[in-house]
Subunit: 157 residues, 2 copies
Amino acid sequence: MNKPARTAEAEAEAVLKANQAFYDAMETGDLAALEALWLSGPQAASVTTVHPGWPVLRGRDEVLRSYALIMANTEYIQFFLTDVEVGVAGDTALLSCTENILSSNPGEGDGTVGNLIGGLVVATNVFRRTPAGWRLWSHHGSPVMAGEDDEDDEDDE
Amino acid sequence: MNKPARTAEAEAEAVLKANQAFYDAMETGDLAALEALWLSGPQAASVTTVHPGWPVLRGRDEVLRSYALIMANTEYIQFFLTDVEVGVAGDTALLSCTENILSSNPGEGDGTVGNLIGGLVVATNVFRRTPAGWRLWSHHGSPVMAGEDDEDDEDDE
């Protein structure tokens, strides 16, 4: 690292920005932007992704292929991120958030869009610091089942 | 780090051992062993866990409380880990695996165990190197939906 030491807040801010760029790329279907955000080089082989309900995908190529496939089958997708928290330790950042998703499948080919679907996904995103900025090393998203207990801290503490 | 540099294989081996100890502690219901495996100190607040279908839990205390709860409600659990892969970058390790789970809920209180349940979960486990060894920073487990495409590499490549 040949940059001056930055405050923890500035670090976290930079991770949040990379994370937002990741979801923005998904929303706009910008595969090139998405590719640029994923770790390349020596760690490319250890890149992993778990899409909700999917088995694990490993390696930069397989991960990016899955995103190309998802983008091709998604007419519209919007992420409202809530509950975003970042921890930074050395050159790694651990970010967790809730993805409030609104999406639709492709329509009937007549210019209409398919049915809108709402979804709730929790994600753990791991970033590595590189000379070019923070890059995604791992994404794991999973569905949140309805009926889970809400945070009970308010009730019993 | 005041230890001599170790080979990448020895590093990965140490991570695999910590990971196995994590699942062993779950199997034996050894909460003390489990607690010792989770990161403490400055990064304790950024510890996260997502159990299958659950929202994200944050902070060492909340995470450990969830394991105590799960252990109290689990009569029997066994993990057969498959497809285990580790990537190490600096002081962080990223491990993914498939948990083939056999478990049962508590029985009727007459000494019998409840029904055995099989489950398939994919996990992303993040470890940090500490002077005492590799410690868990994050665990994210999610159910694998049946009917997903199997790996298609054999068919089309």
